[in-house]
Symmetry: C2
Subunit: 193 residues, 2 copies
DNA sequence: CGTCTATTTGAATGTACTCAAAAGCGGTGG
DNA sequence: CCACCGCTTTTGAGTACATTCAAATAGACG
């Protein structure tokens, strides 16, 4: 496995917990790499999600499809982000999330089974994933509040402030879907700014 | 402190981790009770939230107020639920959440400092609060998807299915605010069902 | 009983959507 | 290297879901 990838994930982990060399080995030994081509799916509607993914290059997008066939982006995962269908991963039930690569993407996979084992052998990881879940929780709460209380133009403004690098990287229709408007309306909205 | 309250919270904790009698004592020794009268606030906009609350009777509501003075309900916490301004609690920054009692309410408070100490002395609690955060995360993801993909009537239907007991307990305007519509529209919507 | 708040009802308005079509852009193959 | 194809973005007209404002009615609490 490539060294720079492991450095990236170890650095990510070290933001919240400190590992000994031995613990690093245990952790990295549990990881496997996976490559996706642009537009290739990692998880599809109805799948049981059995891994967490950590993106080392490229970008993922998680989305659902509603009754009218319209896609709704739940989250993006650029480099240095974690991604999974959390509902499915936790419940072992088929999920409704689709996860695809927006560009050629490389990621490290940690299986649910290995993650559980990790909690036993290196309990610090309970802490790590607790903190990860808590931060993610706060972000989703904030996004929900934004969707309830702000007009689309303001939600777009906040998206630009929060994810300045993603804006140039993503097709407009994906951003539109993330903030919760149609591509047509998004286009008109942008012009009027 | 009342025994039934402690039984309730210990039972809540035992859904995810198993404590020894000594660990139970450490935990319960960290808790303090707090009573709120109906409409009384526990947390207000701009406060730094320094405790997590566990509701033992009554019901809490967490909400924000937007630029137009309109309230938006982020969450309800009936008996056996945890509540906090997670953003503020985690960041130690002033939060935007208001938390008030919808009826006379009793809760157990766990201070942030005690919670951190608990992680050291009884590491199992890392696991407990990780699981709590993960479940909460999934719920907010689902709610966000609902808000992006479903019309108000369908969101109301799902709310009824998910929180059947709360429906009769809450004033309509609170439910309207939770699902993201005005009380006026909510009233009209209900009539047409 | 009276006051305050919640709910209902109605009319006018607005934000965002649908449908349709044109224009732009990027990649691929001849 | 250009032509074509598919996909994204733009533009426009008509529509719908939900809001605002106002006023009447109903409920709840002291």
């Amino acid at each position: 496995m490539d060294k720079p990838q492991l450095d990236l994930i170890l650095n990510n982990v070290s933001k919240h917990i400190t590992l000994t060399p031995a613990e690093k080995d245990i952790f990295t030994g549990m990881l496997q790499t996976k490559q996706l081509k642009r537009k290739q799916h990692w998880v599809a509607y109805g799948d049981v999600c059995r891994h967490s993914a950590f993106v080392t290059s490229g970008c993922l997008r998680g989305y659902t499809v509603d009754q009218n066939g319209i896609e709704h982006v739940l989250s993006f995962a650029p480099v240095d982000w974690w991604m999974a269908d959390m509902y499915s991963l936790l419940s072992h039930q088929p999920g409704q999330l689709n996860i695809e690569a927006l560009e050629d993407t490389e990621m490290l996979l940690l299986s649910k089974a290995n993650q559980e084992e990790l909690y036993q052998t290196v309990p610090k990881f309970e802490r790590f994933f607790r903190i990860l879940a808590e931060k993610s929780l706060v972000a989703y709460q904030q996004r929900l509040i934004d969707n309830l209380s702000l007009p689309a133009s303001e939600r777009y403004a906040r998206f630009c402030k929060r994810y300045p690098t993603l804006i140039h990287q993503l097709p407009q229709k994906q951003i539109a879907s993330y903030i919760g408007v149609t591509p047509e309306f998004f286009s008109k909205m942008r012009k009027s700014l």
